[in-house]
Symmetry: C3
Subunit: 320 residues, 3 copies
C-alpha cells in the first residue's frame, strides 16, 4: 500500500503532509495544480481572502533563515484566514539545548494545525511529520539538499500555464544541480507529469553523474543542453560554490553557463525561462534575458502564492 511507503498520504491516498514530490501520485500533483488555479483568481479579487483556514494556527518553523520563502507562506496562509505564528527558531529553544522533537511536541501541544518547516538537514520535515501529533500537518519549505516541493509544484504550475501539455516537452535545468533541492524536486515532478526529455546542464563539478538513472540526460555543454528546449530552468549559483574551489570565477561561469540572448536563441522560439530567485544578474543569467519576453520569473512568484494556498488547504482538509 502506498500509505505505508509514503508518510505524506493517509490510508485513502489523500495528502496529509507535503514533504517531497518524490512518490506523489500524478493525480495528487494534478489536484494541487487544479486547486491552485482556483486560488489564483482569489488573489485577483478586491478582497483576497477566503475563510478556509479560519481559526487554524500555522507555525512557520524556519530553522534555516529565508525571509522570502517564509513571506510567501505567510501571505498564502493569511489569504486563507489562518493565524500565522513566525518563530525565530534559531534564537529560541534550540539555544536552550532542547531537542528538535521536544520543541515539536511542545508546539503541537499548543494545538498547532500546521508546521511549515525549513531546515538545513535533509529529512528533518519527515522526522517532524513522524513524531508530531496526528492533528498537525507538515509542509516542507526546503530541507538540506533534499527537496523543496512547493517550489517544484509552482514550477510545474508555471510550465502548465504556459505550455499546457507536459507530454511533448523538452526541459533543461541549468546550473548547480548537485546542491539544489529545487532541481531534485523539479526532476521528480517533471517525471511524474510525463515530461519525456529532461536535461541537466552544468559543469562536471555541479552536475552529478548518477542523474541518468533518474531518466535525466546530463549535458556539460550549455549550447547542447538548451538546444530546442521548451523550458529552461536556471538555478541560482550560491556564492560559496565559487569560493569553495568548485568553480573558477563568476565571469568564467557566466561565459560557459550564463544564459544570454545568444544562447537562448538556440532554444525553441517560444521557450520560457524560469528561475527560483533571487537571481544573480551577470552570473547565471543576463539582465536582457531576466527582463526579456521569454522570462516568466515574476509569474512564478505569483503562482507560488496560489500553489502554497492550494497545498495548505488540501492537507488541512484531510485527516491522518
Amino acid at each position: 500500500m502506498l500509505s505505508k511507503r509514503n508518510p505524506q498520504l493517509n490510508k485513502n491516498g489523500e495528502l496529509i503532509h507535503l514533504l517531497s514530490i518524490e512518490g506523489l501520485p500524478r493525480a495528487v500533483v494534478s489536484h494541487i495544480l487544479d486547486t491552485a488555479s482556483t486560488f489564483l483568481s482569489v488573489n485577483d479579487r478586491e478582497v483576497k481572502k477566503v475563510p478556509l483556514l479560519r481559526g487554524k494556527s500555522l507555525f512557520n518553523l524556519f530553522f534555516e533563515n529565508s525571509t522570502r520563502t517564509r513571506t510567501t507562506f505567510e501571505i498564502a496562509a493569511k489569504r486563507l484566514s489562518a493565524d500565522v505564528i513566525n518563530l525565530d527558531i534559531a534564537k529560541s529553544s534550540a539555544s536552550k539545548g532542547e531537542s528538535l522533537l521536544d520543541t515539536i511536541a511542545n508546539l503541537s501541544a499548543m494545538q498547532a494545525d500546521m508546521f511549515v518547516v525549513r531546515h538545513s538537514e535533509s529529512g528533518a520535515p519527515y522526522l517532524i511529520a513522524q513524531h508530531c501529533a496526528p492533528h498537525v500537518h507538515v509542509v516542507n519549505a526546503g530541507d538540506g539538499r533534499h527537496a523543496h516541493p512547493t517550489q517544484g509544484l509552482l514550477d510545474m504550475y508555471t510550465i502548465r500555464h504556459f505550455k499546457k501539455d507536459f507530454t511533448q516537452l523538452s526541459v533543461a535545468i541549468v546550473g548547480d544541480i548537485v546542491h539544489s533541492r529545487v532541481a531534485r524536486s523539479d526532476i521528480h515532478a517533471l517525471t511524474t507529469l510525463g515530461v519525456p526529455d529532461i536535461r541537466a546542464v552544468g559543469p562536471k563539478t555541479l552536475v552529478p553523474g548518477d542523474l541518468a538513472q533518474m531518466g535525466v540526460r546530463v549535458c556539460h555543454n550549455m549550447e547542447e543542453g538548451i538546444r530546442g528546449a521548451d523550458v529552461i530552468i536556471m538555478l541560482r549559483l550560491q556564492n560559496e560554490r565559487m569560493s569553495g574551489g568548485m568553480l573558477p570565477s563568476a565571469g568564467e561561469y557566466f561565459k560557459s553557463y550564463g544564459l544570454t540572448p545568444e544562447k537562448l536563441a538556440l532554444a525553441k522560439p517560444d521557450c520560457i525561462v524560469m528561475h527560483p530567485g533571487p537571481i544573480n544578474r551577470g552570473v547565471e543569467i543576463d539582465s536582457a534575458v531576466a527582463d526579456g519576453s521569454h522570462s516568466v520569473i515574476l509569474p512564478q512568484v505569483t503562482f507560488g502564492i496560489a500553489v502554497r494556498m492550494a497545498v495548505m488547504s488540501i492537507i488541512a482538509g484531510n485527516e491522518a
Copy 2:
C-alpha cells in the same frame, strides 16, 4: 481595602492586571481556572477563535527574550481575535536611550489595550501597571526572580484537572527554587488554594532557608522530599548555575535530584509529574519519566493557552 494594597484589583475587587499570584483572593484564582476550562473546549473546535478581544491591540513587550512564552501569549490572543504586535523591544527604543516609562507612555498613546511584559528586573510589570494609561491592562509574563503568574495558574489548572481537590494534596517542588519565579508563583497559588503540604526540595545552595515562613517544608534530600507526593513539579536547571560554582556538575546533580523511575516510585502511585519546560533530559529529569505515564508536561502546555486566554479576557472586561 484590598484595592489599595493590590494594584491588580479595581475597587470592586475585580482583576484588572495580572502581576503576581501573591495577594490574589482564592475566588479570583478559581474564576480564572473556571474560565480557562471553557476556553479549553474552544481550542478543540474546528474554528478555534472567539471574538472576545476583537479590535483590541495586545503588545508583547519582551525586554527579556523568550520565544516560547511569547508564542503562547500570541496564540492565546489571536484565538481571542485580538491584534497582536510583537515588539523587539531590546533592539528598539531602549537602544535610543529612552526610559522604560517613556516607552510605555508612547505605546499607551497608540491606544494599546494590553501589555504582556517580560523583564529581567523584578517589579518592572508593577511599575508599568502603575504608570500606564487607565485603559491599559498589564500581564506579567515573568519578572526577574519574582513571579511568573500565568505559569503558576496553568500549573494549578493542571493539578486541578488531574487531582480535583487541592485540600488533600502533597506537592513537591524540586530543583533550583531560589532562582525560580515559577516556584514562587506556584507556592503562592498552592497556598491560596489550600494545599496543606508543600515541599521545596533541592540542595542547600538552591533552596532558601526562609521558605519555612511561607508554610513550605524544606527538604535537602530528594527521596524524603518526594515520598508520598501527589504532585511533583520539577524545575528547569539553568546551565549557568553549574558554571557559577553553585553546583558540582550535571551528572552529580542528576544523581541527587534528577527524577528517575526509581525515585518516582517513592511518590504516590497516581502521582503526576510536571515541568515548566524546556526540559533538560538527563539533568533534572530522566527521559523515561518525562515521556512516561505519570508525566503531564505536554498537557500543561495545552492548558497554558487556555489559562492565558482566560486571564486576558477577564482583565480586558474589567475597568480600572
Copy 3:
C-alpha cells in the same frame, strides 16, 4: 499637469502614493487631516477595527530599522483590517546580493497592495513607486534626510487640533534642522497650509543657511527664535552629532537650545510643545516641559495612528 510633475497623484489629482509633502496640493493635505479625524473616533471605540483594507496585504519594508515607526504603521493597518507582513529586510534578500528593484518586483508579484518603506537613502521610496506594479501603493516612512511625510502630517493634525487656524500662527522648529527629515516635511506642510511665520532655530552647524528661500526665518538664538511662538516643535538630537564634532556637548547644547520652563515662558501663554520622539530628557527638552501642561507629545502619537490610517485608506482607494 500636476500628475506629470508629481508621481504621488494620478491623472485626476488623487493621492496614490505618499512620498513627500512637497508638491501636495493643500486640498489633498486637508482631505488627509479630515479623514484622520473620522478615524480618531474609531480608535476610541470598543472594537477599533474598520474593514476598509480587508484582504489587502501591506508590507513593512524597513531597510533602516525603526521599531516604533513600524509599529505605528502595523497598528494603523491592522485597525483597517489589512494583513501586515513585516519583512526583516536587512537580513533578507539584500544580503543575497539582490538589487532593491528586484526585491520590489518580487514582492509586487506576491500581489502586495501597499509598501511602507523606510530607507537610509533619500529618494528610495520614489524609485520604488516608479518601478513597482501599478496596483501597488507606496508610503514613505522616512527616507534619508529627505522626508518623513506621515510625521509631517500628524504634526499638522496636532497643530490643527489645538490651534484650529493655520493662517495666524508662529511656529518655531528647534534643533538639528539640517539632518532632519521631520523638519523638512514640517516646513513644506506648514507652508502649504498657509502658516505665515515659520522659524528654524538652532546652532549654525545644524541650521542650513538656505532655508530663507523656503520662506523660513533662521534664528541662531533660542530666546529670539521662540519668542511669541504659538507652536514649538523640538527635534531629537542624534547622539552621533555630538561625537561627530558638530556640537560641543549635551550639556552645552541644552544650555543654549534645550527647552526649559524659563525659555518656554517667552512663547505665547497657550503655546503647545511638540516632539517626534523619542525624547532625550535633559538634552533637547527639560522633563518639566516634556511632562508639563504645554506638552502635546503623547497626543501626537495618538493622532499619528489616525493619520496613518487616513493615508493608507485614501491611497488604497485611488487607482494609478
